[in-house]
Symmetry: C2
Subunit: 355 residues, 2 copies
């Protein structure tokens, strides 16, 4: 693919596949993993020989840095199979660049491009049967890096483990969600690590999300930590607002994840002739638009869910329902994006990456 490995991947195949035990019609997201995993250790200042091994538990010292100081970054990507049985990734270059951007912010070593792509390719060849054809089916791919060095001194580790594990997936969300706009809690600071796909960013969200659930909402729309006046992200996704026929979304920043689905949707929307306004989005303007009827849609965008339509939002004790739209942007863009992902449409942006 990208380049030849300097060092061949050591492959140890599983003795037998677990695939026969899996009910592919009734998958819950992220609970079942394929037969193999990719592992590469960073020791003595360099990445060692990459390996593919049977999927197996990790053994780590209780003092491993990841448990204490949270150096852990990850990516989420998917492999899709078309009707011919060919396998595709979607913009994997972007995942590769982002995991290294996240790693750099957490003082972790960057991973070599050829190891990343060769590892992915070999892993997907070995576990290819786990990628089921059919629109909506996919193999969710989780590259991640953790600090493995033993010792509870509060500094960056000098030993890491880069891994890729894979989980067969159907659609992520079962229906439209209601979201609560954050008035007190926030997910990231200016000058912080909100833009990184860092494990610690996620742990911080569960408690406020649970509070929102108690009020009948499934997710939180995060607002800026300074003023809570601007819409930033929705749950673990980027968020879009359709006001009349214009699509609004916040610009990326050091607080906001540079989502691959987000930027792909912006390109698709523009190509479809939809006006896209990437600028800070005030909570007050969305509330006003909800009141005067010009707010047509809200949706989250991310790899796992692709697009997650929002049917209602809460803010300052008020509840705003959105009318169901015919020919919604959410539905239009989701189909357009998935058609590219599943090789059912032209790929004018050159996003598909055949394995």
């Amino acid at each position: 693919m990208k380049s030849s490995t300097q060092q061949a991947i050591e492959i140890t195949k599983a003795n037998e596949s677990k695939i026969g035990q899996v009910d592919f019609e009734n998958l819950t997201f992220g609970n079942i993993f394929t037969d193999h995993m990719f592992v590469c250790d960073f020791i003595d200042g360099k990445w060692q020989t990459p390996k593919i091994t049977p999927y197996a538990p990790l053994t780590l010292d209780p003092s491993a840095r990841v448990f204490h100081y949270g150096q852990a970054v990850f990516e989420g990507m998917k492999a899709y199979k078309d009707d011919n049985g060919d396998t595709f990734l979607f913009r994997p270059d972007e995942n590769f660049k982002r995991i290294n951007k996240s790693a750099a912010r957490l003082a972790m070593p960057e991973f070599p491009e050829n190891y990343f792509f060769d590892g992915l390719t070999e892993l997907l060849k070995l576990d290819n049967e786990w990628i089921k054809p059919g629109f909506g089916n996919s193999l969710y791919i989780r590259p991640f890096v953790i600090a493995t060095q033993a010792g509870v001194s509060a500094s960056e580790a000098n030993e890491y483990k880069f891994m890729i594990i894979c989980s067969p997936a159907q659609a992520y969300y079962s229906g439209d969600v209601s979201v609560l706009v954050a008035e007190k809690f926030s997910r990231s600071a200016n000058g912080g690590i909100g833009y990184a796909k860092a494990a610690g960013n996620y742990a911080a969200q569960f408690y406020p999300t649970n509070l929102a659930k108690k009020e009948g909402y499934q997710q939180v729309i995060w607002t800026d930590a300074d003023t809570h006046e601007y819409m930033e992200e929705a749950g673990t996704m980027n968020v879009f607002f359709r006001v009349n026929d214009t699509l609004l979304t916040a610009p990326t920043s050091d607080r906001i994840l540079d989502g691959i689905t987000r930027k792909s949707l912006i390109d698709i929307a523009k190509k479809e002739g939809v006006s896209v306004d990437v600028r800070p989005v005030k909570v007050s303007e969305i509330v006003a638009a909800a009141k005067d009827g010009s707010l047509k849609e809200i949706f989250g965008a991310g790899t796992a869910a692709v697009i997650s339509p929002v049917k209602a939002f809460g803010y300052q004790g008020n509840h705003y329902e959105l009318e169901k739209q015919e020919n919604s942007f959410a539905s239009l863009f989701k189909t357009a994006l998935m058609n590219i992902q599943y090789n059912k449409a032209e790929d004018p942006f050159n996003w598909r990456h055949k394995i």
Copy 2:
């Protein structure tokens, strides 16, 4: 101790001790661990039978939540031995309360008080030889909780592991440090998790600290994320400023850790008749005080280092050196605090906790 265990701790002793291999005169912080560890699993909605076992690696699924979504909190505490060979903890109630406060913010289950204290007591009895007498020697104790549930769905885990591991320690810092006042990076947001002793808060600090190191500083003084106008924490410690004979430190908040050393120092200072002003501390006032000579001292306060004197700070490209003080507050308070910790002085605050 606090209360009797509902459930006895299952104890498995190590066959032989590693203590003979340890050079107690040349310890680096947090690298060597004692013979035993305390482990308690949260499964099926409750904490299972607590165990003390030989110190050993953990086995976790590669999809364990801690690796992906960062649910991990910890505490730092120390055990001290006096000249009679009696062992003491310092304000362990505060550590117990804080780890549960941290856990709650990360949507993790709270740990039972009796398990915490009984586990500590039994562990310190078993590994008592590892606590060396002598002023400055201690056993650093690291309680921590991690999410162990397998699966990469972005929600809080339903399985956790609470552990206590212990590492013999000498003094943490070797000398006075120079610190750089943060102008761009920050460690926590309003409405975030800065007050929690969460793993993710630490990973975020290493990269900015490395940038500071390139400029000749060892640590960063974190400022507020909104304006960078206020001093908040120093590295992984709380920070104090002595202007003339008044001690200044920021109030705790949702961004600032409620440090046990911090609040103990405030009490000691007040008892010594020193004026303590707990209020937001402007960077500009500290710079002005450095210029006019009224800034006498800066020091960090935390369990690992106790007090870490600052000899210089950098801000906006300028470097400010502090004059060495005779009878410094740092030295006075450190001695007073350690005298209480090591049972060399009265304990008017009832902070010592005999094992």
